[in-house]
Symmetry: C2
Amino acid sequence: VPEIIERYFEDVEVADTFHSGPHAVTKEAMIAFAREYDPQPFHLDANAAAGSDFGELSASGWYTAAVAMRLFITGGLRFVGGAIGLGVDELRWPAAVHADDKLALTTEILEKRPSKSTPGRGIIRLRNTATKENGEVVLSFTANAMVQRRPTG
Amino acid sequence: VPEIIERYFEDVEVADTFHSGPHAVTKEAMIAFAREYDPQPFHLDANAAAGSDFGELSASGWYTAAVAMRLFITGGLRFVGGAIGLGVDELRWPAAVHADDKLALTTEILEKRPSKSTPGRGIIRLRNTATKENGEVVLSFTANAMVQRRPTG
């Protein structure tokens, strides 16, 4: 079992890349999420999905985003005290997610700067990309996250 | 009970605005979501949150996004056959969401155009804004969604 390193702002550099383990999407979890948060027929029922633009039962994009967040928090990049999302841009779903897909996340550091408004914090801009086992991208976005700076003195 | 109208692409115009009913956030639902998809201490435990930048137990931003999707799908703007999200930009969380907040969604149509790639479909660009009862904005984003055009002939 590799040791899990918790990082401060100072411990990541632009172009660093981190990977999560895989997460298997289950039909049950996809449907449970859709029932609660995105109750459209093509996310709930295989027959309805067959007659839709999806053609088969497909996950809500917000479910895929939630799984990506899980992979981000449990993956290879951990911050002391956690990471607080400030905003997300360019959120795209280039391919549908189906039951039994195994998703994994790659995180690339795009930029970093000290927070202007909050002492002891830094802002990291990153790109998250979720892929199926065959490498097909199912979700990507850029995000700004606030993380802790290493205490001095 | 007002009749629920299902619309085609042709039935919305730029600057049209739609509203959802309110949805009360429960501590149980916030924590259940966080446990599954965003297991950071400030989303899970009031004591941990008290010592964090949030200061009190706060919902995951992805939970707030999921609730906003629920309000979009169950609110005043419904499309025949549903709406398929193509992408989201400018997703922001300007204020934290707490247990017992009542959230509602406003949807404004920003642009519309026929799909170039898919016959019988149109692309609608919209802005979704989720607010607390006091009007404070907790989430906003723009999105492109694919919807059905009214059949002709």
